[in-house]
Symmetry: C2
Subunit: 309 residues, 2 copies
């Protein structure tokens, strides 16, 4: 059985949305990723929190198929915190407060037992840290990363080094435009692919996703466009993109997909979309925590029907 | 063989876009609709222009399978004109000038020979006129209409009368929100359907389309979501929505689809998407005029691959 390693932020979130408000709930990119991927494969989580991190959050993380050997609870440090507010239509948000806390200190170490992980996801992070993580790994089968505007703008050189060493990039539409300097998303994806990643996944939030795969042999078949799962229940979009990435990588790991397995990426994006749809339907990680195999299968079937003309 | 009747604007457009500018080219909702639908079935065009309408435009309209018996060239009147400018990313536009001209006068009459048309599309128009057209028709098999913010805002009562008499509405996302008062598009579609139309098609431009069909028996199967055809070539989005509607109705007419034929609507939206994609790739109607059966088939195949996970 293959293992999926994820490194990235684990935090405490507060959210204000037209649907309600929540204070001090479990959040962070690696958290959402691990909980989503854990529905499909076993996950190795690497991250660092402070000693204020509630024991009940540790319990949530261990409730699924997540190995938290790589979760460092750093004494004397404080956990990363984020507070955001969503617009009336849920399509934009502002950050009201962010406290990097322990994320501004030294990064976590990948436990020795995790270094042979075949599948790796580097969640959004300082690219210098992403490079350090890559250096600690033993020839993984597939590496995919995420990034954000801050690194594109101010740490471009290191980011380009990361992109030269990964198989795939999962990024949102505005970041793709920023990174490539291109307005058209297909053009942007092609440009980004030339920076290294064979697979470029551009997330468009409620509008779905574009996969561009640099397959010289496939011609027309190297582009997949999928809509998001259409739902009336959008409670809290926080973590949707990270759950999406978790669903994708979880499926690729479950299938032990090779670098060349375009079909697995296509099917993986269906799982990604469906896992993200569960996240947005509840606050914080509740939509993932409450998700069992039966519910997941049912939504996968409904989604496939929804997109089949 | 079934016939498709369309009533709506035929005009002269000027367009400024990041890709270039064109002056005095053929435009109008019914024009794009008829040229797109004409790739799939025979079309009966009803509209009125002024005596300034260039003979070469009449030629373009008759070049396909379009019967222009219902095209009135009104002596002493001037053709409807529109001038718009697109934003850098092509996703928004401003109207620089609009001259209703002949469209502010009395509407055209539906020729007697056209009144038995089985399939009917009422392009965006004053709902009072749409009602007049409906009164002239002899029990059509399927009637679909379009509308816009102006009528939603100021002629709501007449618009509601129209909606009570049609099988389908094709509308864009902002109009759907305006008409229903709901932000969520699935909720909006359900609300609109309760106003009359069994089929509600919400166009989201570059983000694709949502079909909601009020089929009590189908449960999960009553929603279809399709992305737009992903292309690097976006030259002029004018008429994309009307070409989309033309592709949908053209396919339904070609298949002689019954009111209950949900499968035909699903397949029709594939044709709609592909016809719209040809429109945006060239200025004015050039993308449709230059489209032959071989090219259309090829793009339909490419699109089906693009959306198949």
């Amino acid at each position: 059985m293959a293992h999926l390693l994820v490194t990235g932020s684990i935090g405490i979130d507060s959210v204000d949305a037209p649907t309600g408000s929540r204070r001090d709930c479990l959040g962070g990119a690696a958290t959402y990723f691990a909980l989503a991927a854990g529905k499909l494969c076993s996950v190795r989580l690497v991250g660092v929190v402070g000693d204020d991190f509630p024991a009940e959050f540790v319990e949530i993380l261990t409730s699924g198929r997540i190995d938290i050997t790589g979760l460092e609870i750093r004494s004397g440090s404080k956990t990363f915190r984020w507070h955001g507010r969503y617009s009336q239509d849920m399509n934009s948000r502002v950050t009201l407060d962010v406290q990097l806390n322990v994320l501004a200190e030294q990064g976590p170490t990948i436990p020795k037992a995790f270094r042979n992980s075949e599948y790796v996801f580097l969640a959004n992070n300082d690219p210098a840290l992403q490079l350090e993580f890559l250096d600690q790994l033993k020839r993984p089968k597939l590496v995919v990363c995420d990034t954000m505007d801050l690194w594109i703008e101010h740490h471009r050189n290191n980011l380009l080094k990361v992109l030269g060493r990964v198989d795939g990039l999962v990024i949102n539409d505005s970041e793709a435009r920023h990174l490539s300097g291109k307005d058209n998303l297909l053009t942007a994806a092609k440009c980004i692919s030339q920076l290294g990643p064979r697979y470029v996944v551009i997330k468009k939030g409620e509008h779905g996703v574009i996969l561009y795969a640099d397959y010289a042999d496939y011609a027309d078949q190297d582009v997949l466009v999928l809509p998001a799962y259409l739902t009336e229940t959008v409670v809290d979009p926080t973590g949707a993109g990270d759950s999406f990435a978790g669903g994708l990588m979880g499926y690729l790991t479950q299938q032990e997909a090779s670098r060349d397995d375009l079909a697995a990426w296509r099917a993986g994006l269906v799982h990604a979309t469906v896992l993200a749809s569960h996240t947005v339907e509840r606050f914080s990680v509740d939509g993932l925590v409450g998700l069992d195999d039966e519910k997941l299968k049912c939504r996968l079937d409904a989604y496939r029907k929804m997109i089949q003309p």
